[in-house]
Amino acid sequence: MNVALHHRAERHEVLVKAHGLTKHYGGQAVLDGVDLTLKRGELTTLIGPNGAGKTTLLRLLLGLEKPSAGAISAATGLRIGYVPQPMHVDESLPITVRRFLSLGGASRDAIAETLRDVGASHVLNAPLQSISGGEMRRVLLARALLRQPDLLVLDEPTAGVDLNGQAELYELIDTMRHARHCGVLMVSHDLHVVMAATDHVVCLNHHVCCSGTPDLVTEHPEYIALFGVKAAQTHAVYTHTHDHAHDVSGEVVPLAKDGS
């Protein structure tokens, strides 16, 4: 199924091209002339201080809001898998993880398989309100993957998850990007991880301050002005070594030798 997709899809096919995106709220320009290109197989990370317009840009790209000016062109038939931040589901609604995943229109088999892919099989029949924050991230990722997306859009996929959990989630996203051969756009605050695992960084502060590979961006004066000299150095510091790992339920498991 995915193999066929590999052959059909062009490696660096442009998925979304945004030009001059501008968004005003009450006279205030939250976004001002933002250009952005997202490609298949490429992981793009959006960074920037609070209130820089990251969420607004995401909402425009998802079609949840209309830009005040500028244009977005998407590849024909583009399927977007959206991973929102964990939501509050009212306790009064009896709903299992399986049922939640089926709301996107997926079959039983696909749901079980995808939930296994993201390492959350054990919550299949659990009430949606009973799972942990980290499990919820995986379930939301599964819901997005079930749509066979060309582009994954993730809104701060690790906010509120502990450091080990963050690294695991980023690894999972990276694995899925290669396995499903889709493009990825994510908003992130975890600068050190971003710089280690991203192809393309866009630093946003109402306008695009700078963008490019992590190495280029961290040397950019505007990036250093925004995040400080210390942040500019952290990308080299990030290495993640352990003599053991934890699976999703917290059990200690031996490290895989091939590092997969």
Binding site: G63, L64, P84, D90, S92, L93, P94, R99, L103, G105
Partner: protein
């Protein structure tokens, strides 16, 4: 068979209960109880409007409810005042306006009590047609939008990105609510409609593992309440509408976890015969030996 007023009352009550249960589940899940109450208060305005314009009362109520909902939704987007303030304002303003409008009609004597608390025992064959037709249409429409509405209830933006036309589905939901308020008016009256929508789902929650089971159990609880309320009303000559709501409330009380504890206590031996709990101080006795 339909000549018997009790039979007509039962059929009408069951017809409303069957759609009020599933619809009420969404009102509970979406935390729209206050919204529903506001809508039902607007029903009175619909009644006086119907008399003024000389149109069918049920139709008048449905129109008034839809208009109120429309005003509410557009005022919500303006964000002038907090939403609960707006709901309270609109609920009581429309109730007051309805009462004022009714007082102008000197030649028409409208039975205010039956509008406020319902008059299920006087349901006519014509009413029955409206209730069953409207109820069936509302239930069918709800079934049609069930999945997209559920999806939007769990996560509105996720549903929208996945292609659900959220605005359209929500508008349909509000429309269905207006229809159900209009047909339930005759049964329990505008002050009690919201309890027909809220109490059965509240009872059903504990017994449900899926949204659909909850909807089905809520419908069943509604039907039981109608039976219980009408029987009680005939036996003790109590007002039928409030009796139905009281029956539903009794079912709710019986379903509470606390009720389980009380049942358990009552069925056990009297408290003073109980031996002291062995596990209360497991160590203290042994220290003395």
């Amino acid at each position: 068979m339909l000549d018997d007023f009790v039979t007509r009352a039962l059929i009408a009550g069951i017809g409303v209960a069957l759609v009020a249960g599933p619809l009420g589940c969404f009102i509970v899940w979406r935390r729209m109880a206050f919204f529903g109450a506001t809508m039902s208060h607007a029903a009175l305005l619909g009644v006086s409007l119907a008399f003024l314009l000389n149109i069918n009362v049920t139709l008048g109520i449905a129109v008034a409810c839809v208009v109120t909902a429309g005003v509410l939704l557009s005022l919500t987007r303006l964000k002038v005042v907090p939403i609960d303030t707006l709901l309270g304002l609109l609920a009581h303003a429309s109730l007051a306006l309805g009462l004022v409008a009714i007082s102008f009609q000197e030649t028409l004597r409208i039975d205010l009590l039956s509008l406020l608390f319902g008059d299920i025992l006087s349901v006519s064959r014509g009413d029955l047609g409206w209730i069953l037709g409207g109820g069936a249409a509302a239930l069918a429409a709800l079934a049609l939008i069930w999945r997209p509405l559920l999806s939007a209830t769990v996560h509105e933006e996720l549903a929208q990105v996945e292609g659900v036309r959220v605005r359209l589905v929500q508008a349909a939901f509000v429309l269905i609510m207006a229809v159900v308020v209009a047909i339930a008016m005759k049964i329990v009256g505008l002050l009690l409609i919201i309890s027909m929508l809220l109490i059965p789902p509240a009872v059903a929650r504990r017994f449900a593992t899926t949204p659909e089971i909850m909807a089905a159990v809520a419908a069943l609880v509604g039907v039981l309440s109608v039976f219980g309320g009408i029987e009680a009303s005939l036996a003790w000559d109590t007002p039928a509408g409030p009796s139905i709501v009281t029956a539903a409330t009794a079912l709710f009380a019986a379903s509470l976890p606390l009720a389980g504890v009380i049942w358990h206590r009552v069925l056990r031996k009297p408290a003073h015969l109980d031996p002291p709990h062995g596990h209360a101080h497991p160590h203290s006795h042994h220290h003395h030996h």
